[in-house]
């Protein structure tokens, strides 16, 4: 065995103090295999060492939560003995280095997190952040990421139904690729990862293990510098066809009762899967690495334990059921190997060539993982003491036209047309709406899901920004008529060793927690991605929220498209005219200072309940929440989607039309009197804005607005 030098320790991303903990845990010096295992298990990516204590403050419970954070994905009850299972995860670092494979394997990984729990995946979503459109790498990264997400999701046959894509120079050196999967399972067919039963076989299924992705988790736990592209060999390569077979084979096996526990091999592959299964079950696991299906010759124990080859799962079977399980995997042409057994030693024991090549007590490996309380400085970002007034535009209509064609408000059709958003035949709200809506197959129920975050608000004010990200998804789900139930999150930040970055993190968590609690909208799963910095420049704080809600009857849902000429258009909620941090201030006036809009959580709750009630009663013909760009942009989106104009009869200044005050919805109805009466009874602020009709809005033809909105991205991507 090689001797462990300080250089080797440092190469594994472990500091001196952490290495001392290892010596203490083992009572001896580790060998190289053991050191590798500690290094990945204690990486930021796997151990959440900077974030754990803060994540613990988030609300995770509600009567409908079946399984909160800690398993592969969160599980919620959706009635009738059915569950929704979902999670979001980042694949930021690999996607920057190799956009197609990085994004593709991000989709593959999150799919496995969901189907490993027994769910059939029914919807994919994503949240993408790229640098400035002017940055020389942006086109290449955008086209590669989109092709990778499509290439994987389309082949596997899961509809990609919603997403978010933004551009900002803060992501020039660190793009964000966050992928979310929602699945459904019967409540009595949810599978967990706790290994149990002394002597039970530990079985490996899926693809063979190669040398790809070794130390991917460690890479994802460090900053980038100019040499980062040399890390390309740590990016895994996806095989969506094998994933599709793996889904079908696992679900076929899960229909029976031979599985004790199952866990996908994600980051840190065989290491994290076996350690987590043993840890959750409070047992030991012995692996005979000679039995691991290998793609390459002469693989060492170190390589096998740290490989992040894709499309692999680990399971513990009931004794004597190996042959039955093997037959299913044989049918699907997938590898199947008994590679070990459950033991009562509480150790992870590795055998190779007849020798013990690793022996680590599980307890210390998991429980003694570092848990840092990093210094943090929670305060709104330095905002210029002098706040310039945000001036009015010279002409409202022309300004709207300009905004609709700007990079961050333009149509994402170029992106989502590369994703199969209809496969499985249950997508009832396509991309471009407030939330993606997918029927629960064979029922009238439907799941609404969405991803959202407004990083510029989080940067200006982490607490309000964290609240806003949660509230925005709550609104999106409510706007189609679904009841928001729970969230997953993907928390993307810079280097947590810097107090201002850690302050952003802690502030956003605080805001998220307040919102989740007030809205009864708990966190059931999530992921943290830190060290999104290149050469010391951090991304904007980007805590992406993935929300899921339930509709009892999809036939009642409402979309954003205007339906009937003559319908009355209202705005629910007061407009104070908050222009700081708005798209208008940034894009039209180049003003980037000032506070984020405030979120009134009690009002969010009341507005959502009102909107859902009106949709349930059939009063609304269209609905849209007011978000980026403010009221006029929301109206334009509704007009474009319906191909109908709007006649405004409300007078307002630019603060009214472009302000980004929170908690507001545009409601459209054929029965204005009924809506007004209901709002009055609920004591809510409802303001009539105008009527559906004609073919223009503020003198801008809807066709012209649509052209500006649709043309930006294809034009950008086609330009050389």
């Amino acid at each position: 065995m090689s001797t462990i030098t300080p250089e080797i320790v440092a190469e594994h991303g472990l500091n001196e103090e952490e290495y001392a903990r290892i010596l203490n845990a083992l009572g001896r010096e580790p060998n190289i295999n053991e050191l590798g295992i500690f290094s990945v298990m204690w990486s930021e990516h796997c151990s959440y060492k900077s974030s754990r204590r803060h994540l613990a403050t988030l609300p995770t419970e509600a009567p409908w939560v079946i399984c909160g954070p800690g398993e592969n994905a969160g599980v919620i009850d959706i009635g009738d003995g059915q569950t929704a299972i979902f999670k979001m995860e980042s694949h930021n670092h690999p996607s920057y280095i190799e956009p197609y494979q990085g994004a593709a394997t991000g989709v593959g990984g999150i799919l496995r997190d969901v189907f490993t729990m027994g769910a059939r995946p029914v919807a994919n979503l994503n949240a993408l952040r790229f640098g400035s459109p002017d940055h020389p790498k942006t086109r290449h990264l955008l086209s590669g990421v989109v092709a990778g997400i499509g290439g994987y999701g389309n082949c596997v046959g899961i509809a990609t139904v919603a997403g978010q894509t933004d551009f900002d120079p803060a992501y020039d050196g660190n793009i964000l690729v966050n992928a979310m999967t929602v699945g459904t399972a019967d409540a009595d067919k949810v599978f967990y990862s706790a290994a149990a039963g002394m002597g039970n076989p530990v079985v490996y299924v899926g693809s063979k293990t190669g040398r790809d992705g070794i130390h991917g988790a460690t890479m994802a736990s460090a900053e980038f510098d100019d040499d980062s592209e040399e890390k390309r060999p740590t990016v895994q390569v996806g095989d969506p066809f094998t994933e599709k077979l793996l889904i079908e084979a696992c679900l076929e096996l899960m229909a029976g009762d031979s599985i004790v526990a199952i866990q996908d091999m994600g980051a840190a592959g065989l290491t994290s899967s076996s350690v987590e299964m043993a840890s959750k079950g409070e047992v030991g696991i012995e692996l005979n690495l000679d039995e691991v299906p290998q793609r390459e010759e002469n693989m060492t124990p170190y390589e096998m334990m740290l490989s992040e080859s894709q499309e692999r799962m680990l399971m513990v079977l009931e004794p004597g059921r190996e042959e039955e399980a093997h037959a299913i995997f044989r049918k699907w042409d997938l590898d199947f190997a008994v590679i070990g057994k459950v033991t009562d030693t509480n150790h992870l024991t590795l055998l190779h060539g007849g020798e013990v090549v690793g022996d680590i007590p599980i307890g210390p490996l998991v429980d003694d993982a570092p848990n840092y309380d990093r210094p943090h400085d929670v305060k709104p970002a330095a905002i210029a003491a002098e706040r310039p007034d945000v001036p009015a535009p010279t002409e409202l209509g022309a300004t709207l036209h300009q905004m609709m064609g700007s990079p961050n408000l333009s149509s994402r059709r170029w992106i989502w047309e590369q994703y199969d958003h209809q496969v499985m035949g249950d997508t009832v709200v396509l991309p471009g709406g407030d939330a993606g809506v997918v029927r629960v197959h064979g029922t009238d129920k439907a799941l609404a899901s969405v991803t959202d975050c407004t990083p510029r608000y989080c940067y200006a004010d982490p607490v309000e920004g964290g609240k806003q990200a949660v509230a925005e998804t709550y609104r999106n789900i409510s706007a189609v008529g679904a009841t928001p139930l729970a969230i997953t999150n993907c928390l993307n930040f810079g280097n947590p060793e810097k107090p201002e970055i850690m302050g952003q993190f802690v502030g956003c968590i605080q805001g998220m927690g307040e919102a989740c609690k007030a809205l009864n909208y708990p966190v059931v799963s999530g992921n943290v991605s830190l060290y999104n910095e290149t050469n010391g420049i951090a991304i904007l704080p980007t805590p992406v929220i993935g929300g899921v809600g339930l509709m009892q009857d999809y036939k009642k849902l409402v979309r954003i498209a205007l339906q009937n000429d003559g319908d009355s258009i209202y705005i629910l909620g007061d407009t104070g005219g908050h222009l700081y941090q708005s798209i208008y201030a940034k894009v039209i006036q180049d003003i980037h200072v000032g506070p984020a809009p405030r979120v009134d959580l009690a009002q969010e709750k009341a507005h959502s309940a009102f909107v859902r009630g009106q949709i349930e009663d059939g009063t609304l013909t269209a609905c849209h929440d007011v978000a980026d760009g403010g009221t006029l942009v929301a109206l334009a989106e509704m007009a474009m989607a319906g191909g109908k104009g709007i006649t405004l009869d409300h007078e307002g200044d630019h603060g009214f039309w472009f302000g980004e005050d929170q908690g507001r919805y545009i409601l459209v109805t054929s029965n204005g009197a009924a809506l007004e009466a209901a709002a009055s009874e609920a004591n809510l602020s409802l303001t009539k804005l105008g009527r559906v009709g004609g073919d223009s809005l503020l003198g801008q033809s809807i066709d012209g607005l649509k052209q500006a909105n649709e043309d930006w991205m294809p034009g950008y991507m086609a330009a050389v």
Binding site: G150, N154, P240, F241, E417, Q422, G425, T427, K555
Partner: protein
């Protein structure tokens, strides 16, 4: 009408077309695994959409050589109605049951969108509920839908009225805007668009229903 849907490894629209067949024809199709060699006695064989064998070779190339295909081809030659949708169309061209080939989309990207099709020739068991010249909205979702055939083949397809559907706004560069073609006897139809995704207003279109109604009435 009794039907069979062939399931290849990587098929992913098998369930969708089964749902459509059951909804409209009223009985559940046989789902037949590609590795089988026996095909049940049915009135219609369907090759569904998806990415059979990952389409890692040419799209449909591996599936065209699956064990079950020997029987599918034999029955098709005897005139048994055979429908290939998307990847199924690619499989049909790979087996030679239909002429030509589906190449990478001219725009190089995968494209998923509703397209308007013109019903060119509605004189088949698959299409007789439509009328020549009808314009229908059906989604496409493919990477390799760019229909190509040599000039003689194209001429023969046109002369023999074998073009079933044409795109109004060609999404993939197909020659003659071809979206779907019949074999000479009109017992085999291959098309890139997905009629099984257009069977309800809630999905965005009901224009695919008539294809299943045609089959129901004819078979």
């Amino acid at each position: 009408m009794k039907s069979a849907v062939i399931v290849f490894p990587g098929s992913n629209c098998d369930r969708d077309v089964a749902v459509a067949l059951e909804k409209i024809a009223g009985n559940r199709p046989h789902m037949v695994w590609h590795g089988e060699t026996d095909l049940p006695e049915v009135d219609l064989v369907v090759l569904p959409g998806g990415f059979s064998f990952g389409d890692y070779l040419r799209s449909g190339a591996m599936a065209g050589r699956s064990p079950i295909m020997k029987e599918v081809i034999t029955r098709a030659h005897k005139g048994k109605p055979t429908l290939g949708i998307c990847n199924g169309f690619q499989v049909l061209t790979e087996t030679g049951l239909l002429p030509g080939a589906l190449m990478r989309n001219a725009g190089l990207n995968f494209v998923c969108r509703d397209v308007t099709l013109k019903v060119e020739h509605a004189n088949s068991a698959f299409t007789n509920a439509y009328t020549n010249g009808d314009e229908i909205r059906i989604p496409v979702a493919h990477h390799d839908g760019n229909y190509f055939a040599d000039d003689d083949t194209l001429k023969a397809l046109e002369d023999n009225a074998q073009v079933a559907f044409r795109y109004k706004d060609n999404p993939n560069g197909s020659q003659n805007d071809i979206a779907g073609i019949y074999n000479e006897s009109r017992s085999v139809l291959g098309l890139m668009p997905h009629p099984e995704r257009a069977i309800g207003a809630e999905l965005g279109s009901t224009d695919g229903i008539k294809m299943f109604e045609s089959l129901m009435a004819s078979l």
